[in-house]
């Protein structure tokens, strides 16, 4: 096997091992706890043929997309605002870190009371998860810039806005992209948790509903779908990330 193919092959081997463990767990615990890989895929295939399931996917996808957009653009804007000024950054950094490591579920009722049930609350909750890491990453990237770039901006007499758009943001683009990966994962998780707690639509609701009905096959099918999506999307972003950082 050539060196280049070895890594993906190892990864596939690992995945295969996980499927074997999954099958073994199924044999130990039975259908009430965990459906077999084959049965789960069959169930997923069957669900993908119902329009209801697609509308749930669309609902979650829409909330996720809005949350991601807010996280990325809001986070970059906020991070840039704080990152240009060293004092503002030092003052706000621990506050942001504290907010980042807070169990944000605790604050979900607050979001619900402000936005009411429905799409806006989910988007806000997803954005709450994604916005802060993007802000922190953007801010730190700007702080750690090479001083020569700032001097160049001064020599060329660029206005703060000009230096930000023509010099600083392009320079920190690779870091921002890494932040985007974080924001991507976290806003997806945020939207799903939001749907699990209070929603009538979306994949989180499907899982929650299935939990109440002890419908293990549905839970596993949605779990496989989401895990597959998360792994594929994160893998693709990781590839781009590595290419930019080179």
């Amino acid at each position: 096997m050539t060196g280049k193919l070895r890594k993906p092959a190892d990864f596939l081997l690992l995945m295969l091992a996980l499927v074997v463990i999954w099958q073994a767990l199924h044999w130990v615990a039975g259908d009430i706890a965990i459906t077999s890989p084959a049965a789960t895929l069959a169930k997923l295939g069957q669900m993908l043929h119902t329009p209801k399931f697609w509308s749930d996917i669309a609902e979650t996808g829409r909330a996720f997309l809005f949350a991601l957009l807010i996280s990325v653009f809001g986070g970059v804007a906020l991070g840039a605002l704080l990152g240009i000024n060293r004092l503002a950054a030092t003052v706000s950094e621990p506050i942001l870190v504290a907010a980042y490591s807070l169990p944000k579920v605790t604050l979900y009722p607050l979001v619900l009371l402000i936005f009411g049930l429905g799409l806006p609350a989910k988007v806000a909750f997803g954005a709450m998860h994604g916005l802060i890491p993007v802000t922190i990453v953007t801010m730190n990237a700007l702080l750690n810039l090479k001083p020569v770039l700032l001097r160049t901006a001064r020599v060329m007499r660029l206005s703060p806005l000009q230096s930000l758009t023509t010099l600083l943001l392009p320079a920190v683009l690779p870091e921002i992209f890494s932040g985007l990966r974080l924001g991507f994962s976290l806003s997806l998780v945020g939207v799903l948790i939001g749907e699990m707690f209070a929603s009538q639509r979306g994949l989180g609701f499907v899982i929650m509903n299935a939990m109440n009905l002890s419908d293990v096959a549905t839970i596993m099918a949605v779990a496989v779908l989401l895990t597959g999506f998360a792994l594929l999307a994160s893998g693709a972003l990781g590839l781009i990330d590595r290419r930019i950082h080179r």
Binding site: R6, K7, D10, F11, L13, L14, A29, I32, A33, I34, L87, T90, V91, S92, P94, I95, V97, A98, S101, L102, P103, K104, V105, T106, L107, Y108, P109, L110, L112, L113, I114, L182, F184, S185, L186, L188, V189, L192, I193, M196, F197, G204, I207, M208, M211, S214, V216, I219, V222, A223, L226, T227, A230, L231, A233, S234, G235, G238
Partner: protein, 249 residues
């Protein structure tokens, strides 16, 4: 306190003050947010009455259990994976996208294996927290400067004393980052599981208060979580920062 610290305190004080003002003047209604002073009052009352003390203790107990478990298991797993580059290469994409997977989906599975109650919650929090400990252990082992190992060889130290006297101290800053992250994730895992899925603990008490339109109790408990979690995380964060600065010197 340094001037930056004073400024930071002032920023937070002003934000809380503005919220208080907005609530008192009726700009924000009491059905949405209650004034921060009322939150403190409610929290004080909750702690004094002691009805929720068992819930509060059970939450913190679960967080502690999940954090200790994930730190120990994560460290050992990191040690075991590090000498196996092929396994590590295969695991890396999984570790990198791990946090995109909503772990809470697997709760029903844990209920079957562990029964309803604390153990299933600890299992979820553990799943969430263990990965950052594994990653930090791996990074720590990667970053041991080769010169240290050479020194150990020069002194003809055996494997055990090299591990204890050279490698462990050299990796401690990274291990501590792992501990810090594990604690933060253990809090998130426990409180979120209680909130969405279980029938006990602070998380459940908050969602119960929300469902019963009991804003006073809800905000009191939210304040408890925010203050407790932030205090713990900030203490760990400042120790972590000190380690990082020392290792940069």
């Amino acid at each position: 306190m340094s001037s930056v610290g004073t400024l930071r305190f002032a920023v937070i004080a002003i934000m809380v003050g503005l919220l208080e003002l907005a609530c008192r003047t009726g700009l924000i209604g009491p059905t949405v947010i209650i004034p921060p002073s009322a939150m403190v009052e409610s929290l004080w009352q909750i702690l004094a009455e002691g009805d929720l003390t068992t819930d509060i203790l059970s939450t913190f107990g679960n967080v502690l259990a999940a954090a200790v478990l994930s730190v120990v298991v994560g460290f050992v797993a990191g040690l075991a994976i590090h000498p196996l580059p092929r396994l590590r290469g295969a695991l890396e994409p999984l570790l990198a996208s791990y946090y995109a997977i909503p772990t809470f989906m697997f709760y029903p599975l844990f209920i079957v294996f562990f029964g309803v109650g604390n153990r299933a919650i600890i299992a979820i929090a553990f799943l969430l927290a263990v990965v950052s400990m594994v990653t930090s252990t791996l990074t720590g082992l990667d970053r041991i400067p080769p010169i240290l190992r050479k020194t150990a060889k020069m002194y003809r130290m055996n494997r055990v004393s090299t591990a204890l006297l050279i490698e462990l101290p050299a990796t401690i800053p990274h291990l501590f980052t792992g501990i810090k992250l594990s604690v933060a994730y253990a809090f998130i895992g426990v409180i979120a599981s209680e909130f969405i899925l279980s029938g006990a603990g602070i998380g459940y008490s908050i969602s119960y208060a929300y469902n019963n339109f009991n804003n006073r109790a809800m905000y009191g408990l939210m304040l408890l979580v925010v203050v407790a979690v932030t205090t713990v995380n900030m203490v760990l964060h400042s120790i972590d920062r000190r380690f990082q600065e020392r290792s940069r010197r």
